[in-house]
């Protein structure tokens, strides 16, 4: 039953672009049919995942494509089913959103379908070959999606950067699969034997950290991510940020599943990388002026938070402490869902905003909350969720991670101080995320419209709004009723061999019911407060502009901008961010118009990687001395090679 559901999901998703291709870009029915197929595929996939999470096992499906390659095995287990659910939800939402997208064409529906199919197949892959094939299909589909607006130079650059880094990742993963096959004797994903030498296991971990780290966007491998997410169409960014980069997390979780008792330093490394990613991601996000780049940096931050949970889980496995493992893994897995939901919501809301206002530069937006109230409300829900505030879903998963970190404080060795640092970082990151989203929401949706905002901007059609409502509803639902997912989380946790001190399950460790009660109380309090404010308002009072201290030449351009709002933070952390500012010198008493610019380039890409690669390219240029362009010289090379070979014999 669930096997057929999975096959139907993958098949429908993979072929969903065909009607759009047949109909051509001008006909609407092609894209509508493609979306319908995607939604049905997502429903089938989600049903298969739910069945597996409910305890039904799935018989493996063997696919032999060629006698040269070992047969590939596909089946869902509980871990992959957990990751499959957000894939289905987000791909369906993005597909519906695409219907309302102005600059349509057939490219996005076709490759969105391929991406959805390859993501599902990747999660179902149960051996190394199937994993690599579907991984590459996923990477290539995403490349074509990133390059949708390829007539813009910036987009082409981002797409090439993405393609190069994703292939670096695939290369490392080929080595990863090879090492695994060498140490287990088969390509199948099976638990690693304890007799496998420690060096091979550590090699597996390092290769996975590189390969999956590039895909997940762990600092310092994150450099491709902001450009790619900013350049892709918004609903593609939603899928990429929501689920595609999570495949890196899935890979790391799968490695932890293959090696159930890892050495302690794995967990320590994951925790440390999580701290660095979370902090760097959010710090760079605050300094961004581009709405989608900003959201992309927040993805890096959230990947860091997920890594904190995963590192905690690894530490729990290594030190044989069940509550660390359960809370850490639950926090990481739940945050994977939550980040997919709220980041998808934020990207879709940002996409609707950009769609209406025709720019993604934050400083040119403003006052959009009045023109598109529903989009603004959805963005606000996403923003509250991503900041980890109750009563939304981000709070629940961060709370689980916090609980795990607090219980790690009582551990011995290096774990306790590291956990203390991680708690501090997590708290700081939450506060910084709040700062960042106050900035974005205030500058984009509040205040007065700046000159460049399209006066006709509005919420857009139902195709743009419906996916946002679905995601916002899911965020609220998971935030208010987290006890619904606790059994599923418990199933995933139980998929690992039990540790010696059984901690009584997640339900005993995590106060899911109390979260619900507190969330409802909070909502009630908010409702009462709003009602009281409304009752106190004098109906005769007319709306007036804000008191401007008597300044006569008021203009929208003297509102806070994204840069000025964040200036204090950027100045304080300039050692990390290394901002570049171009200040005009104001020498006269009445200077003429001057230009001020500030931007924060990515430290790894712009200051480290690109200069280094330019050096390599210059070095390679020296080799062109060999290329003389004359036949005689080339024959001479052949001759010299022959002579050398004869001399060496």
């Amino acid at each position: 039953m669930n096997t057929w559901l999975l096959i139907a999901a993958i098949g429908l998703a993979a072929t969903s672009g065909v009607p759009a291709l047949c109909a051509g870009p001008s006909k609407r029915w092609g894209r509508s049919l493609a979306t319908a197929m995607q939604v049905v595929a997502a429903t089938c996939g989600a049903a298969a995942a739910v069945l597996v999470l409910a305890g039904q096992s799935m018989p493996p499906l063997r696919v032999a494509i060629s006698p040269l390659v070992p047969a590939m095995t596909f089946a869902l287990d509980v871990l992959s089913a957990w990751f499959l659910l957000p894939v289905c939800v987000l791909c369906a939402c993005a597909s519906v959103f695409d219907l309302g997208w102005r600059a349509g064409g057939t490219r996005v529906p076709v490759f969105l379908g391929v991406l959805a199919a390859s993501l599902m197949a990747l999660l179902a892959a149960q051996d190394g070959i199937a994993f690599l094939v579907t991984w590459e299909a996923m990477a290539l589909a995403a490349f074509f999606l990133v390059a949708t607006d390829h007539h813009e130079r910036e987009v082409r650059d981002a797409a090439w950067l993405y393609l190069a880094t994703t292939h670096a990742s695939t290369l490392l993963l080929v080595a990863w699969v090879g090492t695994m096959a060498w140490s287990t004797g088969s390509f199948a994903f099976t638990t690693l034997d304890p007799t496998v030498p420690a060096a091979a296991r550590d090699g597996l971990f390092l290769l996975a950290l590189g390969g999956f780290g590039i895909k997940a966007g762990i600092v310092p491998f994150h450099f491709w991510l902001p450009a790619a997410h900013a350049s892709a169409p918004s609903h593609v960014s939603a899928v990429m940020s929501g689920v595609l980069i999570k495949m890196g997390i899935y890979g790391l979780a799968r490695l932890l599943w293959l090696v159930p008792t890892p050495p302690q330093w794995w967990g320590v490394t994951l925790l440390a990388l999580g701290c660095v990613s979370a902090f760097t991601g959010v710090a760079f996000a605050i300094a961004q002026h581009d709405l989608k780049r900003l959201l992309a940096y927040h993805s890096i931050e959230n990947i860091g938070i997920i890594l904190l949970g995963l590192g905690l889980a690894a530490l729990g496995r290594a030190t044989d402490r069940a509550e660390l493992f359960a809370l850490g893994l639950a926090g990481a897995l739940l945050h994977t869902w939550n980040h997919g939901l709220f980041k998808g919501l934020l990207f879709l809301a940002a996409g609707a905003t950009i769609h209406a206002a025709r720019t993604r530069v934050i400083d040119r937006l403003g006052g959009l909350g009045r023109k598109m109230p529903q989009t603004a409300a959805c963005f606000l829900i996403g923003a509250v969720a991503i900041c980890g505030l109750p009563p939304l879903n981000g709070f629940v998963s961060e709370l689980l991670t916090y609980l795990g970190l607090f219980s790690a404080l009582s551990a011995d060795g290096a774990t306790a101080p590291l956990a203390a640092i991680a708690i501090t970082v997590l708290a700081a990151v939450g506060a910084m995320a709040l700062l960042c989203f106050v900035k974005v929401f205030g500058v984009v949706y509040l205040g007065a419209p700046r000159g460049s905002v399209d006066p006709a901007a509005d919420d857009g059609g139902p195709a743009l709004r419906a996916p946002m409502f679905v995601l916002a509803g899911a965020c609220a639902g998971l935030g208010i009723a987290p006890f619904c997912v606790v059994p599923a989380l418990q199933t995933v946790i139980d998929d690992w061999p039990a540790l010696s001190d059984a901690a009584g399950g997640l339900a005993a460790l995590a106060p899911a019911t109390w979260i619900s009660v507190a969330a409802l109380a909070l909502l009630l309090g908010l409702a009462v407060m709003l009602r009281a404010l409304r009752l106190r308002r004098d109906p005769a009072q007319a709306a007036r502009p804000t008191w401007d201290c008597g300044y006569v030449r008021n203009a929208p351009s003297i509102q806070y901008t994204a840069a000025s709002f964040a200036q204090q933070f950027v100045d304080a952390s300039r050692r990390l961010l290394l901002p570049r500012t171009h200040r005009p010198d104001l020498d006269a008493l009445f200077p003429g118009p001057r230009r001020f610019e500030s931007h924060v380039p990515d430290v790894v890409l712009d200051r480290l990687l690109l200069p280094a690669l330019r050096g390599v390219a210059a070095g390679c240029n020296a080799l062109r001395l060999l290329q003389r362009g004359r036949v005689q010289i080339y024959v001479l090379y052949v001759f010299l090679t022959l002579l050398v070979l004869l001399l060496l014999r």
Binding site: G629, Q632, F639
Partner: protein, 213 residues
């Protein structure tokens, strides 16, 4: 030891030196043709009991290397009305010295090759190497496209000398196929030469470097 075989091989090597030292294109082509005629005689000398295989190989070589190719090249040279000088990149004396060094190296190399015992004493191997080196030398140091073709021919002559060791092992069809390939190759090169001359009004290959990028 076969004195007449050795004499022919010495002549072949001397013709190598002649091609390196000669300044006239027609003389170089004629020397290559003569080398082809001498090579045609070799199968009869190496393999004493005459067989159809040997006769076919010898006659084919004579027809292609001794007659057809020199005639084709002479005609090509007449058609493209080029200057009749060789125009080397290095001087004739240096070419000759390099040729001598190459022949010395050939003797050195062939001493160390793991040959079958019946071929170990044969002078065919050093002569083959020396001719191959000469072919390379002509290829790398001569400017004109037509002398490049001559270089390839000399190279092929060297390979043919080496192939004589294997005459018994190779089917005659393969041998004739190789000869046919060579004939067609030179034919095509002649046509290409003609077109190069028509398009660029020169066949100086040293100037063909604009396709470098």
């Amino acid at each position: 030891m076969n004195p007449s075989l050795d004499a022919v091989l010495v002549l072949v090597v001397l013709l190598n030196f002649f091609t390196l030292g000669s300044s006239r294109v027609s003389a170089v082509i004629r020397a290559t043709g003569t080398q082809g005629v001498l090579l045609a005689a070799l199968p009869f000398l190496v393999h004493e009991p005459l067989s159809t295989h040997v006769v076919l190989a010898g006659l084919g070589t004579l027809a292609v290397k001794g007659i057809a190719l020199p005639w084709l090249l002479m005609r090509a040279m007449r058609d493209v009305t080029i200057r009749r000088e060789v125009e080397p990149l290095i001087g004739f004396t240096t070419s000759l010295l390099l040729g001598g060094a190459g022949t010395g190296l050939a003797l050195l190399f062939s001493g160390g090759l793991p040959l079958a015992p019946e071929h170990a004493e044969s002078r065919l191997v050093p002569a083959a190497f020396a001719t191959v080196f000469t072919g390379f030398l002509v290829l790398t140091t001569r400017r004109k496209a037509i002398t490049q073709i001559v270089g390839y021919l000399i190279l092929e002559n060297g390979i043919f000398l080496f192939g004589l060791l294997l005459l018994d092992a190779l089917p005659v069809m393969v041998e004739l196929g190789v000869l046919l390939d060579l004939l067609v190759g030179v034919f095509v090169m002649g046509i290409v030469l003609h077109h190069i001359q028509r398009t660029f009004s020169t066949i100086d290959t040293a100037r063909f470097s604009t396709l470098k990028e």
